[in-house]
Amino acid sequence: MAEDQREQESMADNVSETEPARDSKQSSTRPVSLVTWTLATFDTVLFVLLGVLAVHASGGLADLLAGLNTLVGVAVFCYLWALFVLAVRWVHRRVSLDSAGVSTLVLHGVAAGSVTGVVFLLGLLAVALVSTLQSGGARPQSVLLVLLIGAGVAAVVGGVVGLLASLLDIAVYGLAGTLLPELGNERVTEPRRR
């Protein structure tokens, strides 16, 4: 993406410490670009909201939420959000939304989604299982079996989510490009008022 490339280029430039230059430097030192932050947050909240919508439409939302601790729910959401940011950043550092082909983007999305799914599951299981293992409530062999089966399922589910998310991201990026007003041969910018 041009934004990412420009940010990388501006990191190399030695600009004087004027106000706008300082602003540019601050944005260039951000580990995540605005596009990555936007798409990762969009994917995360959409994923959660569609889940809530589906459960509510089936009439089971009250029962589901009653069994969840609020702080645990917040922690799981933040964990998922962070994983989405890392996954989208990984994809955007390798392929560009505006120039890469759809198949390349989708393949990267599926790979990132699979890994994210496994890491998400491992994180949850690590928290849940450590206390169980310490108290001797589960045998290590059965834990390993659960981990292997769970990782396989999580990789497939994550891959599907990654596939859908990358297709959606490509679609909204393309739609934004379509809605971008054409200026023709007019001057693109006006001189700054003093």
Partner: protein
Amino acid sequence: MTALPIRTLHVLAMAVLVGGTTVLWYSYRCGTIASLAPAKQFEWLFWGGVGVLVVTGVGNLGSLGPPGPGTDWGRTLLVKLAVVVALLGGSVVRTLLLVQIGDRVNTFDDLHPVHRRTLSRAYGATAAVFLGIVVLAEVLAHG
């Protein structure tokens, strides 16, 4: 015990997002803001606020114990969730539109009036949908 802070955070995040989008709509419309930088800065806050809104919104639902979709309350919630999904779709397009405008123009120059008008409309539409969501939230809270 966590219900009050969660609800307060939800209301504060909503206030920031409604206020921010309304200010940007008005500023781009009147030409008070002529560059892209304020909008770009706000978009970081906007998506952070959206994350906070969604997680605190689900937290609120948990403490309320929402009735099923067959009731009036449940149907209103269904409509609210659908409107929020639509808002998210529109907002992601708005942010990417802004980014693509930024890719085309020099960040330090003033925006072309056509771009300014586009951003004004985008923020205006976002603010209007947000106000609709606030009305739905009022209905859910007070009937």
